[in-house]
């Protein structure tokens, strides 16, 4: 995981994600910063999504995660670099399988530090599973 420490460079960080084969991670120190980053993401054309298959529809996507985030987001992040993603829908017991198109695509997770800590403690190691990370 690489870290970019230039506090003024979140825009540069997000623009560098295009074509990345890993999911980017933006870590906010608090809720105020979290909202600020969400606005920047929106302004830069990132589409907020709740469904991982949305990455097939739009080129720039971001997911917000917290301690209650569904496991499927973690499964998605882990599989994103592997060329194929299988997400299992427990309700209908079916797999959704798709191949990410990395070209010009960018996928970002937005999380605040507190929730990230809780997720890590649960064993969802987003820090390892994601690629480039930005922290203010």
């Amino acid at each position: 995981m690489s870290k970019t420490n230039d506090k003024t460079s979140i825009e540069k960080f997000l623009s560098s994600l295009a074509g990345s084969k890993e999911v980017g991670l933006v870590i906010a120190n608090n809720q105020i910063e979290y909202k600020k980053f969400a606005k920047i993401l929106h302004d830069l054309g990132f589409h907020k999504s709740d469904n991982v298959t949305d990455i097939l529809k739009v080129k720039k996507t971001y997911f917000t995660i917290n301690q209650n985030t569904e496991k499927e987001v973690y499964d998605f992040v882990v599989q994103y670099p592997t060329g194929q993603i299988e997400i299992f829908d427990k309700k209908i017991m079916q797999s959704h399988i798709f191949s990410p198109n990395y070209k010009d695509s960018a996928v970002v997770l937005l999380v605040d530090q507190d929730h990230l800590n809780k997720l890590q403690a649960k064993g969802f190691n987003f820090l390892s599973a994601s690629g480039p990370a930005y922290r203010s």
């Binding site: 599989q79 592997t82 060329g83 797999s95 890590q120 064993g123 969802f124």
Partner: protein
């Protein structure tokens, strides 16, 4: 021919060899390619997997996703090879290593190439057994009242287990050591069923049974190391780990791999790395049967060595002398490892039992270790798992062994093969030697010649003889000892004596027979020189083109025979190649010395010593004691004499420094006799 070595090697017929020569260049290039794909198969460092017949499925990863996959030689290629071995052997594979190694990507990349479906389950958190094994759900297709309210829907694992015509499926169990205990228990029931080749009983579906087949379903579990920054992982119980072929990979990319991969990504380095032959495994087209396995020469000996190795390796792990820093404990299982090693040998034996065993031990034992230091420790033990044929006087090693009739216990069987090829009158083994000399041979050496060599020996009018260097009393088997022994024995049997009969011309010159011997072979040779022990292929007559030639000319005839008949289309053994090179290098010098002898400048003895020191002479000529031994045995058993009216040059010198020659078996000894050179081959 019953030799398993021969049978398994399926040596190329002579007719095929010319076409093979043409292909050789291409094959050599191909052999160095780490991944070779054909229409129906892919070989990963030599391990060949068949592609699925049906590859059109949403579960099969798309190949274009892996176009920039970097096949580095330290991580990616060995990983693919080891995965291929597990797939080929139908073994569940558990790979532990850091996230940056690309474990899942590698499996999916192979699946994309092979057309295998991937059924992926990440076992980290919130997964329950039903997600994997299936559950009842409201029937989404219910249209009529008689339609069931609920139907059973497969889970991720059951969908991977169900067999479909033409499909091959891989179940990936990611983050395996994050799984809840109840999930691990259920999955291990599945593994047990796969191992048995039986059914998986779905308690989740009113005990429906699913027939499983490890040929059609491959299971790969992946996990990150416990600790080392990976939270929520618990070490697996070593007893559970035994069900898996466990492969320990580094926690991080090795520095050199990182460097190469990074350069490759930026197109800043070479596109490929040099792949060494030792990285390759070569899988057989068809696995051996157990019967064939048991017939492999040296199997019993190497099994004993393997048992010792297993015990020692277990002790090293138990005492933490290896794997001390590994957070995931493991054992070398007494039941599973031997079975895996056996199955590996069945699949990967290619004529060299040592190589097959040692590769198996690297795969199933060394692969569990992370550090290079630990691997080296185990490698020292692995190298001891070796069968050494009891070949006397041979320096030949390696793959050449596989062509030999070398087997301890079945030596009598191999003598039968030799008799089949050469005829009973031309094979003299331990029974014949005991009959002739009364020497009982306790430890019979293996026959160091291949079937093909025996067949050629037949065409060269050769016989196969086992030589011993001691009499029954433990004295040197000298010419004197043989002469004393056989003259008396043969007299009792009504046969002629050894070489010089009473009416022989030489008795006009010498008082006793011993003096005649000493005159021709020298006193020391007569009383002290013994045959070099072991098997030899010996000409019963001299080589036709060797008449009327000097020492160099005779040797050139021998070399020509070796190249054009004995080893034609075969690799010349290293010691013969060295000997020929030495001869070529010294030929001019010896020729010059010969000229000086003819002009009286130099002594004959100098030339003789030069000739006798040549390796080619020592390898291809009988010494005086050997020649006497050989003709004596032949006469004793067959009651036929060799070299009655001719002579052959030997690899011995007389007391006055001349080259020894013998013949006149019961001949008069007077007059002119042709002198030539025989071909007597030892290894």
């Amino acid at each position: 021919m019953n030799s398993p070595e021969r049978q398994f090697n399926a040596l190329t017929s002579d007719q095929d060899k010319s076409s093979n020569e043409i292909k050789k260049t291409t094959e050599t290039v191909d052999e160095l390619r780490p991944i070779i794909e054909t229409e129906t198969s892919i070989s990963y460092l030599g391990v060949k997997l068949e592609k699925a017949e049906v590859r059109d499925s949403q579960f099969v990863p798309k190949r274009e996703q892996y176009e920039d996959f970097i096949n580095d030689k330290e991580v990616a290629l060995p990983l693919q090879r080891d995965i291929a071995v597990a797939f080929l052997n139908g073994e569940p594979l558990l790979i532990e290593g850091g996230t940056s190694l690309g474990k899942t990507t590698t499996v999916r990349k192979m699946a994309a190439e092979l057309g295998y479906e991937v059924h992926y389950a990440n076992l980290n958190g919130a997964t329950d057994v039903e997600d994997l094994m299936g559950r009842y759900i409201p029937n989404p297709h219910k249209n009529k009242p008689e339609d069931p309210e609920y139907i059973f829907a497969d889970g991720k694992v059951t969908s991977g287990l169900r067999q479909e015509e033409g499909k091959i499926k891989i179940i990936i169990l990611d983050e395996f050591n994050s799984a809840a205990p109840n999930i691990l228990i259920r999955l291990h029931e599945v593994l047990d069923a796969l191992e048995r080749g039986g059914d998986v009983i779905l308690s989740e579906d009113a005990s429906e049974s699913i027939s499983v087949n490890k040929e059609k379903t491959k299971i790969v579990a992946l996990m990150n190391p416990v600790g080392k920054g990976y939270l929520g992982r618990e070490p697996l119980d070593p007893a559970q780990l035994r069900r898996w072929v466990y492969k320990k990979m580094p926690s991080e990319l090795p520095v050199s791999t990182f460097s190469y991969s990074t350069d490759a990504l930026f197109k800043a380095g070479p596109e490929s790395q040099y792949i060494t032959p030792d990285m390759f495994l070569k899988s057989r087209e068809d696995a051996l049967t157990l019967e064939q396995l048991s017939e492999i020469p040296g199997m019993r000996e190497i099994l004993e060595k393997y048992k010792e190795f297993h015990k020692a390796a277990k002790e090293l792990v138990k005492s933490r002398k290896i794997a001390e820093d590994q957070s995931q404990p493991f054992i070398y299982d007494d039941r599973m490892e031997p079975r895996r090693v056996r199955d590996f040998v069945l699949r990967f034996y290619n004529g060299d039992i040592n190589e097959a065993f040692q590769q198996a031990l690297r795969y199933y034992y060394a692969n569990k270790l992370e550090s290079d230091v630990d691997r080296k420790k185990l490698e020292e033990l692995i190298r001891l798992v070796e069968y050494r044929p009891k070949t006397i006087g041979s320096q030949r090693r390696g793959t050449e062994r596989e062509e030999k009739l070398s087997v301890g216990e079945s030596i009598s069987k191999h003598i039968e093969v030799a008799i089949e090829k050469l005829g009973k009158e031309n094979v003299f083994g331990p029974k014949e030697i005991e009959k002739v000399f009364g020497v009982k041979i306790e430890d019979v050496p293996d026959i160091p010649f291949s079937v093909e060599e025996l067949e050629r020996a037949k065409n060269l009018n050769q016989m196969l003889i086992l030589r011993v260097d001691k009499t029954a009393e433990g004295e040197p088997m000298s010419i004197k000892a043989m002469s004393d022994m056989l003259d008396k024995k043969w007299q009792d049997e009504g046969k002629d004596c050894l070489l010089f009969e009473k009416d022989c011309f030489f008795f006009e010159i010498y008082e006793t027979k011993d003096e005649i011997w000493k005159a021709f072979v020298g006193k020391d040779v007569f009383t002290q020189e013994s045959p070099r022990p072991g098997w030899a292929l010996v000409s019963k007559d001299f080589l036709p083109d060797s008449l009327d030639k000097d020492g160099l000319g005779q040797t050139e005839v021998v070399i020509k025979t070796l190249k054009e008949e004995v080893f034609k289309d075969l690799d010349i053994p290293e010691e013969y190649a060295e000997a020929i090179t030495e001869f070529e290098n010294k030929k001019a010098e010896i020729a010059k010395l010969m000229d000086e002898c003819r002009s009286g400048v130099a002594q004959d003895s100098g030339v003789v010593q030069e000739l006798l020191q040549l390796k080619i002479i020592q390898l291809t000529r009988q010494t005086a004691a050997e020649w006497v031994y050989d003709v004596a045995v032949y006469y004793d058993i067959n009651n036929k004499k060799l070299f009655v009216d001719k002579l052959t040059w030997l690899a011995s010198s007389t007391s006055d420094g001349k080259l020894s020659r013998l013949g006149w078996f019961s001949g008069n000894g007077g007059g002119f006799y042709p002198i030539g050179t025989c071909l007597s081959r030892r290894l």
